[in-house]
């Protein structure tokens, strides 16, 4: 039995926990930690809560795929390096209804640059039903500027099929000669 991990990242509210829940065989576990670091956006609060989501997929040979959702708060990105170590690949979820989704994209690609270089990334754009812009073509354009051409899908994080397709595309990106058993 071996253990592997897949990383889900993206800004707060992009649907990381929901996407993990869509795939996980166990109820998603959210680990919480209190931090004394001040959140610049919430000045009256002296503490913020950092959440790390966890889910699990078991394979037939008892191999385990651990699904980790990174904390969304950018102040805690020191955890990301630890979390991604040995990870198979990255699922990046971007909330299209936030103020500047393309900036979010750039931020997370930069933050996970090394991990993406070692593995691959697949990008899921959530809440496109609430905000249709930026369009997927704009994301592709932005990614091309950074020399990337990963799968970018319109994703409903509640929909298992959507999340599964995104993950399958990530696997094929990791190994373009991969062939499903037929």
């Amino acid at each position: 039995m071996s253990n592997y991990k897949l990383i889900f990242t993206g800004p707060t509210g992009a649907g990381k926990s929901t996407a993990i829940a869509a795939l996980s065989e166990i109820p998603v576990v959210t680990t919480e930690a209190k931090s004394s670091l001040r959140n610049p956006h919430q000045e009256f609060k002296t503490t913020v809560t950092v959440g790390l989501d966890y889910g699990l997929l078991k394979l037939k040979n008892n191999d385990k795929i651990h699904l980790y959702g990174t904390p969304g708060q950018e102040r805690f990105d020191f955890m990301w390096d630890i979390l991604t170590e040995g990870g198979l690949g990255l699922i990046l979820l971007i909330d299209n209804a936030r103020i500047a989704p393309l900036e979010d994209l750039r931020f997370f690609l930069k933050a996970f640059e090394d991990f993406i270089k070692q593995t691959q990334v697949a990008v899921g754009i959530t809440r496109m039903d609430l905000s249709s812009k930026p369009k997927l073509s704009e994301y592709h354009k932005e990614l091309r500027k950074l020399g990337l051409n990963p799968p970018v899908f319109d994703v409903d994080a509640r929909n298992k099929k959507d999340v599964s397709l995104l993950l399958q595309a990530l696997l094929y990106s990791l190994d373009p000669n991969l062939k499903a058993d037929r």
Partner: protein, 393 residues
């Protein structure tokens, strides 16, 4: 109902069909059928019948129909039932050419009948007469079996039935091409290309069963009614006649707003519509002029969560994003039927995501297979995970 355009036009009744499908029949009769047939509603005065044998209550309906009209010349439309005695069978998905042949056969029988005064007897390729499948036998069919058949049928609708071709044989190569311009697909592609040049507004398409408005900026297609899948699919298969009444009209932003305020328009994503239309039209073929020996460029991954996922489309996309390969080499490398690769390519071309790289030198059809293919150290794990995600484990 349509008026006859010819005095000798055959009166045909449709049984087991919904209104939109009947409207499509009318289009066929008036278009490729050249007005030699027309649709009526009363069975009692019909000279022939077209019977859809795949409806929910079709078995019962068929039994009643055959009891009352045992000799009425009948065309049976079905996915599976080939052997209904005394009928002319047209397999679904309906190919217009075969359908027109069946109509011609029925018409010929009626003419012979008129000449001799005999009741029509349809020969079914020397087969002994079989009773129509009874309701009970059909009900006994396992639900899973039916589901598999339906899935296979949908697969055929999108990818066709063609066997692999030998690219060295020109007579085989010719068979894999189709010209989108001969079909509705070509018209929509032109409209789409034209609409993309507009800074504002959209394009109104008239001449279909409902007005359609293309809004490329929003990736939307607005329709006056729900587009029924069967109806639309049949339309895509009809070759466009020269006398087609289709036309494009430019709409200003204010006109679109006015229509949105006064008409009930249903929106759907434009790229999904074009993708599906291309799949239905191509049915596993590729646009005329596609060079089989040159590499395919896939601009980016299609949005597979919202598009029809053709067989092995993820594999093909990953391969083409990593390295361009020719269509024939792609099928060889992935060990896939060529029609799956062709279907995907045709759909991706329709939404301008794929094209043939004309800059590449023409190579022998297998040369790119010699490129190194690295084995990912975790390939077996990925295979197991794929199987798990697809419900295989």
């Amino acid at each position: 109902m349509t008026q006859s355009t010819s005095k000798s036009a055959l009166r045909i009744v449709a049984v087991g069909m919904d209104k939109p499908t009947q409207r499509l029949l009318e289009m066929v009769f008036n278009g490729p059928g050249r007005g030699e047939y027309f649709l009526i509603e009363q069975l009692e005065v019909a000279q022939a019948c077209i019977f859809d044998l795949d409806g929910i209550a079709a078995a019962k309906l068929w039994a009643n129909y055959r009891q009352q009209y045992p000799y009425l010349p009948t065309i049976v439309l079905s996915l599976n039932h080939h052997d209904v005695a005394g009928t002319v069978f047209v397999k679904k998905p309906i190919e217009i050419e075969k359908f027109l042949k069946a109509l011609a056969k029925i018409k010929q029988l009626k003419e012979e009948e008129a000449a001799t005064g005999d009741l029509p007897q349809i020969s079914v390729k020397g087969q002994p007469a079989h009773l129509a499948p009874t309701q009970s036998t059909r009900e006994a069919k396992l639900a899973t079996e039916i589901t598999v058949e339906q899935e296979e049928e949908i697969l055929h609708q999108f990818c066709g039935y063609h066997s692999d071709i030998n690219p060295q044989r020109s007579e085989e190569v010719e068979k894999i091409y189709y010209d989108p311009n001969n079909y509705l697909q070509g018209f929509f592609e032109k409209a789409f290309a034209f609409s993309q040049q507009l800074e504002t507004g959209g394009i109104l398409i008239e001449g279909l069963y409902t007005p359609m408005i293309l809004l490329p900026e929003n990736n939307q297609l607005l329709c006056g009614c729900e587009t029924a899948e069967n109806q639309l699919r049949t339309m895509t298969l009809l070759p466009l006649s020269r006398s087609s009444h289709l036309r494009m009209i430019t709409l200003a932003e204010t006109e679109i707003q006015q229509r949105l305020a006064t008409e009930k328009l249903i929106a759907q994503p434009l790229d999904n519509f074009l993708w599906k239309m291309a799949l239905w039209t191509a049915r596993g073929k590729i646009p005329k002029g596609t060079d089989l020996s040159k590499d395919v460029v896939l601009v980016n991954w299609p949005n597979f969560t919202r598009l029809v996922l053709t067989p092995h489309a993820l594999e093909i996309s990953a391969l083409w994003i990593a390295n361009p390969y020719s269509l024939i080499d792609t099928a060889k490398m992935l060990n896939l039927p060529q029609r799956y690769v062709f279907a995907f390519f045709s759909a991706a071309c329709a939404i301008k995501l794929a094209f043939i790289d004309r800059r590449t030198d023409t190579r022998s059809p297998t040369s790119s297979l010699t490129r190194p293919r690295s084995e990912h150290p975790k390939r077996n794990l990925f295979k197991r995970l794929l199987a798990r995600l697809r419900g295989g484990e």
